[in-house]
Symmetry: C2
Subunit: 261 residues, 2 copies
């Protein structure tokens, strides 16, 4: 299984601390040696760094851990290959432009019968179930909303139904972003924590590192981190429920859509 890491914040924030613990799972404390990637939204722009090599030995990953890129939305992924060979084209996160926005996607899990999902506007570059599902999902959204919807609720409900369909094909834990919102959808496991004043200390589960967030923040900062498994061992992470979609903006949950009963 792969590992997911996401961040939503109300001020541009660096993710060096969380990423340091996270990248240890790429060949260190975890078995996820088959590539990694991280995407940042900055000032309306988007960039990602991807490497098909284990994150623990990647000079690019080391740079990202040390070079504080400040962003309000981050999506990161460490891969353990199941469908598709180990190569750059199969390395998450994936991105496509829709409505002039760069959408970014990372998936944890495995799907069956995914190749039957019909493709319209977007086609995969690589050979993974994950990217195929992404292209299908984006194509379905664009087919229903040729222009960016004025009613966000309609978009979120459609997105939730599409995620539920993918959960019906297997395991589908998702991080998705459009630059304004971060969407997190839980199929089997995702956990989150929101940090705000008064900030305390946190210590990583995967590496010997403690940070005092009070030294790096202002009292108005709100920073939420979402990961497959909790990254710290001295904080109370909230586990998402299967079928739950959370819509994050500026570090807080703006909408919650639950699985149909």
């Amino acid at each position: 299984m792969c590992e997911l890491l996401g961040m939503s914040a109300n001020v541009p924030t660096d993710i060096c601390f969380s990423f340091t613990g996270f990248l240890h799972r790429g060949g260190g404390t975890g078995p996820h040696r088959d590539g990694w990637g991280i995407a940042f939204y900055e000032q309306g722009g988007y960039r990602d760094f991807r490497d098909p090599h284990p994150s623990l030995h990647s000079p690019i990953a080391r740079l990202i851990g040390e070079y504080p890129i400040k962003s309000r939305i981050v999506i990161s992924h460490i891969r353990q290959a199941n469908v598709g060979q180990i190569c750059l084209a199969n390395t998450h996160p994936f991105t496509r432009e829709m409505w002039g926005q760069p959408w970014c996607y990372a998936h944890n899990g495995q799907l069956s019968n995914w190749s039957a999902l019909p493709l319209t506007f977007y086609r995969p570059v690589g050979g993974t179930d994950s990217e195929h599902a992404f292209c299908w999902l984006m194509g379905e959204l664009r087919r229903e909303f040729p222009e960016p919807p004025v009613d966000c609720q309609a978009l979120w409900q459609r997105l939730h139904r599409l995620c539920e369909r993918l959960r019906g094909l297997g395991v589908f834990n998702l991080l998705l972003a459009d630059g304004d919102y971060l969407y997190t959808y839980c199929s089997t496991k995702l956990a989150h924590i929101t940090r705000r004043a008064p900030f305390g200390r946190a210590s990583l589960s995967d590496a010997e590192l403690t940070v005092n967030f009070a030294e790096h923040t202002t009292p108005d900062d709100v920073v939420s981190v979402i990961a497959t498994e909790p990254l710290t061992d001295n904080e109370d992470w909230v586990r998402m429920r299967p079928g739950e979609l959370l819509v994050w903006r500026d570090g807080v949950i703006e909408a919650r859509l639950d699985a149909a009963p």
Copy 2:
């Protein structure tokens, strides 16, 4: 004016030497302080590194200059902003997926009346004339070829006509790639050199560095470099003609389309 750098090779080749000279133009020997980017095609995949800061002081640029990423097609760009503010969204190269291929684009020059170019499948994320022209160009190709064309000549002729239209709007020097081919189109200035056995020494114009390619190559390697201005001062670069489109594959020119007389 911005600076362009491209490479086409018949074996995965690193561009560290050329990039070292090139990045000196980003705030060193040149005035191009407004961001830079570089894109690599590797094993059917694509990745780019972009930074809205001067390349000479960018830790990411330094990493790229020292970390040999081997690729058969590379596109790089250093920006001197004219249209659009200095930010990540306006930093070249730009990319879009068409037919399951990641297309990459970098532009040198400035266009007038560009905002009237009609957009269909693709929309710009940032606010530059360059990205708008890219989205228009890709949309026009996709409209004419909904599926990847069997006849490459038809695609190249269409691409050439679209480039000629853009040249009619101002200065349009172009690097474009789809993972198989590198396309270079000259409006005012682009120069190229092809290196093959017997390899010799080359010395950079912009930095005190000489390399003996014989030490880094095999006798079968063919590596072509295309740049706004020649990067070395002891080799014979060929200057392209206005209106000329070259189609590169595996380091050699596969097709040449000239401006209509």
